[in-house]
């Protein structure tokens, strides 16, 4: 059995599935429901949906689509994007999502995380951090889909999010996203070493080897895959896929 969680992380813009590169422009991937059906066929263990523009576009989560997604999925689900209050979080959990993801809302309203965690349990809250490495090698945190610099560094913010009650951290490297060059294992390790909650690595995966590096060097507990699961390979066409399970188990068995 695969002990390490390998989680396809799909980007939604309202009702369309897309994929960005380095938090920039996006290309279309397809219809969300049809894509979920394929992941059902591929028997992935878990799925994560992020509506990357909900906060920027001042939208609420699209409940109609989320209902359909929850009904179609035969595996556990997380959702993030535009969740600003506990009631919305509760609603999303009740329609069949196992976890919700909070990013931008945590800056304006840190108590939100504690509120959701105390009602629905810490394990239902994933706090998401988008990190850009600047020219001086510092890891700066951004909000609003990577458009607004928050004046705090990644490690400090991660510790704070754990203190507020998040059950897990989703840490995304803005520089690496969509590049197939591997996760930023230095950044991951610097965070994993100071928190006790699981860290999910995100941004940059291009191969099973990269996944192993994130666990071994980055000390991540789980990994998220983006471009790797929606494109055939770097630079080629859209083709939903998942790494070969046997290869994954072998590589991660150590």
């Amino acid at each position: 059995m695969l002990r390490t969680r390998v989680i396809p992380c799909l980007q939604l813009v309202n009702e369309s599935l897309v994929k960005t590169v380095q938090f920039g422009k996006y290309g279309y991937i397809g219809d969300p429901i049809n894509t979920v059906r394929i992941f059902n066929e591929l028997e992935v263990d878990e799925l994560c949906f992020l509506d990357i523009r909900a906060t920027l576009e001042k939208r609420q989560p699209n409940f109609a689509i989320l209902h359909q997604i929850a009904n179609e999925c035969f595996m556990p689900l997380s959702y993030g994007g535009g969740i600003r209050d506990a009631e919305t979080a509760r609603q999303i959990l009740s329609i069949g999502f196992e976890k919700i993801v909070i990013n931008t809302a945590a800056f304006a309203n840190p108590a939100l995380i504690s509120e959701i965690a105390s009602h629905s349990g810490a394990q239902s809250v994933i706090a998401s951090i988008d990190v850009k490495k600047n020219l001086w090698g510092k890891y700066q945190v951004y909000s609003h889909d990577g458009t607004q610099k928050e004046y705090v560094d990644a490690v400090t913010w991660a510790v704070e999010l754990e203190r507020l009650g998040a059950g897990e951290l989703l840490v995304t490297s803005m520089n690496r996203e969509g590049t197939y060059t591997g996760y930023d294992t230095d950044m991951l390790r610097s965070i994993s070493e100071v928190v006790n909650i699981p860290v999910i690595a995100n941004g940059g995966a291009g191969s099973v080897q990269h996944i192993e590096n994130a666990i071994r060097d980055g000390k991540a507990s789980a990994v998220a895959l983006g471009s790797m699961v929606v494109y055939q390979k770097k630079g080629m066409g859209v083709l939903v896929n998942f790494p070969d399970r046997v290869e994954l188990e072998k590589t991660l068995a150590q």
Partner: protein, 206 residues
């Protein structure tokens, strides 16, 4: 008995959409019921559940005639009933989580997982099950059967003959139980793709 419609009891706790969908996917008809009248006509019952023990028992007892009809169907007519997750815990005598008695159909208790540094509570994630007694529910499951678990309490049946499968989380706890026509699964088959599908299919074909 053959394949018949599955009556899913809706007492307001638990995401039924995925359950309905998974049955649909394997070609089994379902009917969601929130009243005793609907359950009276049931040929097979599925009892779902997500959330707190007492909240669930209160809601079920609050539905007029529900407790009586459940006793009738399960103890007298002996039609098959499968409890999932919290639904399985409800089949026991009671839980450390709450004050109210359970349905008591399978003697045993529901106990809180011990808190430890290594093993976090709730037990959340995929885990393997090991069949300890042959039973129709876990028959012919794909190799290395694993399911998705999310729970802070575990069940311990009084009679070892009711223990069908166990799962290890620091120690072995009961993950599948059975007493005659009553079944319980601690995990979420509707979130365990092909493994869940086979298990639900086995239940449907009883």
């Amino acid at each position: 008995m053959g394949i018949n419609k599955i009556t899913i009891v809706n007492y307001g706790m638990g995401n039924l959409g995925s359950i309905v969908n998974m049955f649909k996917r394997i070609g089994i008809e379902t009917q969601v019921c929130d009243n005793a009248g609907g359950v009276a006509k049931a040929q097979k019952i599925l009892l779902p559940g997500v959330g707190a023990f007492d909240a669930a028992m209160s809601r079920i007892t609050a539905i007029e005639g529900m407790m009586e009809i459940l006793d009738q169907k399960v103890l007298v007519e002996k039609i098959p009933l499968l409890g999932i997750c919290l639904g399985m815990q409800l089949l026991t005598d009671g839980s450390e989580e709450g004050q109210l008695p359970g349905l008591g159909y399978i003697p045993g208790g529901t106990i809180r997982f011990p808190v430890s540094d290594e093993l976090k509570v709730p037990h959340m994630g995929w885990n393997l099950i090991e069949e300890v007694n042959p039973n129709p529910l876990t028959k012919d499951l794909p190799e290395e059967p694993r399911f998705y678990f999310v729970h802070s309490y575990y069940v311990q049946v009084t009679n070892p003959y009711h223990r069908m499968a166990t799962t290890n989380y620091g120690f072995d706890f009961d993950s599948v139980i059975q007493r005659d026509n009553l079944f319980g699964a601690q995990f979420h088959p509707e979130k365990s793709h092909k493994f869940g599908m086979k298990l639900l299919e086995n239940f449907a074909r009883l």
